[in-house]
Symmetry: C2
Subunit: 160 residues, 2 copies
């Protein structure tokens, strides 16, 4: 039994939605992936498996998966959404490398606790939170340093 299959089927049933081959195929593929995949990747997988699924259906199914809580949508900020499985995993935050695009996951209970505290003070009821740190991974930092030498552009404060 593939991860989340049962859960997704139940979630669909609870909303009077049908369990179809396409939907389960999308679920399978997202669960099989290591995480942070995009629509192109999924479509490519289905094509390879000689089991093409239309873009529209992939979008529609991912939307259901996100609503069910089995999958999380991650917006990298450059216009492409990525998806990662959440089934059986704990919440975590992301570091996104501006050099190679790699996404590194991390967790820090203390940060979570402080968020709860800040929200409590403002009487804000938390539903979700997203913490993304952008910068350069170890590999890209080194590469960048060697290319630029000491001549760094100090004007650029890079907020985006």
């Amino acid at each position: 039994m593939r991860e989340g299959k049962q859960e997704f089927a139940e979630w669909l049933a609870s909303r009077k939605l049908r369990v179809t081959g396409e939907r389960m195929a999308v679920l399978d593929e997202v669960m099989r992936a290591n995480g942070h995949i995009d629509i192109d990747y999924l479509q490519e997988q289905f094509r390879k498996q000689k089991r093409p699924v239309s873009r529209a259906t992939i979008y529609r199914t991912l939307s259901h998966l996100v609503q069910s809580g089995l999958v999380q949508k991650v917006l990298t900020g450059e216009g492409q959404a990525r998806y990662e499985k959440m089934y059986g995993r704990q919440h975590h935050d992301h570091m996104i490398c501006l050099g190679c695009g790699e996404i590194i996951e991390f967790t820090n209970d203390e940060i979570e606790r402080l968020q709860d505290w800040v929200c409590h003070k403002k009487r804000f009821t938390i539903v979700t939170h997203t913490l993304q740190i952008k910068g350069f991974c170890e590999k890209c930092s080194a590469q960048k340093a060697s290319v630029e030498g000491g001549a760094t552009d100090h004007r650029r404060h890079g907020r985006n």
Copy 2:
């Protein structure tokens, strides 16, 4: 002298870009606003002021302002970018109300410190970070509670 005018002019000059009426108008408008405005808002302001500026120019100028560090781009996650002035302001994070759309700003040095620490451990060089907490502001929480009574939907774990 309007906030940031001098700084922006210098930044433009340093890149051999020209100081134009349109550019200064956009700067003025973003500085005048309380923050978190979008392109539509800006275009509307210019229209009202009988000083229309094309959408393309607004986009192009905001891009420069963001690069100069005078303005920050905030992606709310629903596909619309918002902008807020950073000139003379310290970095801060956001709570976004899912009920009324209000954006509440907050800062917490301890959270920042922990982020630095986590990145240091992973040898990740921070450029920027974004922490968005989504949920319901005090007003909307109260309203929601009274409408729903005790019947909350416990299936929805709402991560997006």
